[in-house]
Symmetry: C2
Subunit: 238 residues, 2 copies
DNA sequence: GAGCGATTCAAACATGTGTTTGATAGGCCC
DNA sequence: GGGCCTATCAAACACATGTTTGAATCGCTC
């Protein structure tokens, strides 16, 4: 019976049971059971170190759980990772830059809110915000959950940004909208994924909340000018 | 001909391996000795997988060398990595986007050449061009050689870009120049470090040589418009 | 050819990691 | 209490990786 590999006692499948809290839409793991602590600790470790570098022992130590806890509750490391991505995903809806941007009518202001919110999400190193960092890391190094992350995490926000751009400049072609969206997201992401280089390059750069705000303002103006200018030429040129 | 020419070789005394460090001589691995093949293979593997994920066995297999070769010729994995960074660094001078951009007089054309060359360097997956990919990876995850990479690899190119921007729009403040430079580099880098996401997001995106060319053209126009518009406002705002 | 240092080789070692195992304790229903 | 299920625990297992070791091979001088 030892080698039959059928996982005779593998209650790991009972997964989605207790994530729900008491409140209506609350996702937060108010119940500090072992499973919830593991999910939370794993999210932080995965976001900080990446999938390969994260160790189960470290996760369990931070969660105050036994090494076997991961195997028992989730099956194996990869399953835990998938679950963490999904968990971060549900949480990420509350941090959706697109939703916050939808509040205002002026398209320029919508872009400003989008950029600012996006930068705050990925820039903040605080504890409850490893979700965006996890996404950014998954984007950088494709893991098992990339398809899922892209499909239901990245794509909707990207399309929201594209909608803002179309409103800003209706003369843009679909392809130009895509390229402009990439340009805007790229401007934001470099401050996250090249932070060590930038702090060495510009020792004056602090990247605190105030600085993030100013950088977001620069990116907004930079992109607004570029998008507005793009319509003066059609899209054809030598 | 071995290392006796410049450096008195390193018997790499079994116990305390010494890293040569300076190595003022040899730049080209024209001699296909074990040491050179190891350097070349290590560069490729480090650029593809990153420092932690790269395995010495893989490097030695690609180089057709024995596992002990790394320990004998370089001391240990970290010393090999430092040496590879330095090696890539000397080679990178031939691939300097700034130098190629210096050929033309028109600042807009200089920016265009800079962006195009930069994107070709980091986008091309070919064998002889793992240098830029290595730099990009080192930027993303700071390793032991980050300071060295930034000081003599990134900074000069960044300053060249800033000089172009200043020529394009003399009314920009130092800080605005920095921010614009970050915006341009960020637009380029996203196609490298988020490539898996982008290919899933836009299945039509091919990222071959022609596509790279068109993206570079977009980034150039996007940034030219933004930089030109930046001078119409001073730098003050609500 | 003999001697000697530089170099390469296969094998082993030490360590860290993901995973499994068998045992143990607690809760719950009959 | 007895049986049964869930959850946790310490220990061990299996495997990959960086590193070392001692012998074998190569290349050169004499």
């Amino acid at each position: 019976m030892s080698r039959t590999a059928t996982a005779p006692s593998r209650p790991a499948s009972r997964s989605a049971a207790r994530v729900v809290g008491s409140g209506a839409g609350r996702i937060e793991p108010v119940d500090h059971g072992t499973r919830e602590r593991l999910l939370d600790a794993a999210g932080e470790v995965f976001a900080d170190r990446g999938y390969e570098q994260a160790t189960i022992r470290d996760i369990c130590r931070r969660a105050g759980a036994n090494i076997a806890g991961v195997s028992y509750h989730f099956g194996d490391k990869k399953a835990l990772y998938i679950e963490v991505i999904a968990y971060a995903h549900r949480c990420a809806d509350e941090y959706d830059p697109a939703r916050e941007a939808a509040g205002t009518a002026d398209p320029a202001e919508r872009l400003r809110v989008f950029v600012r919110t996006f930068m705050q999400r990925i820039g903040h190193k605080g504890r409850p915000a490893w979700h965006a960092r996890l996404m950014a890391r998954e984007m950088a190094s494709p893991g098992a959950a990339l398809d899922q992350v892209v499909r239901s995490g990245v794509r909707p926000k990207f399309e929201a940004l594209q909608a803002i751009l179309r409103t800003l400049n209706p003369s843009l072609s679909d392809r130009e909208v895509e390229l402009c969206a990439c340009s805007i997201v790229g401007q934001c992401l470099i401050y996250h994924h090249a932070r060590p280089v930038l702090t060495r390059l510009f020792p004056t750069l602090k990247l605190d909340a105030r600085e993030i705000e100013r950088i977001a303002e620069h990116i907004t103006r930079f992109s607004l000018a570029a998008v507005a200018a793009a319509h003066r030429r059609g899209g054809a040129r030598p």
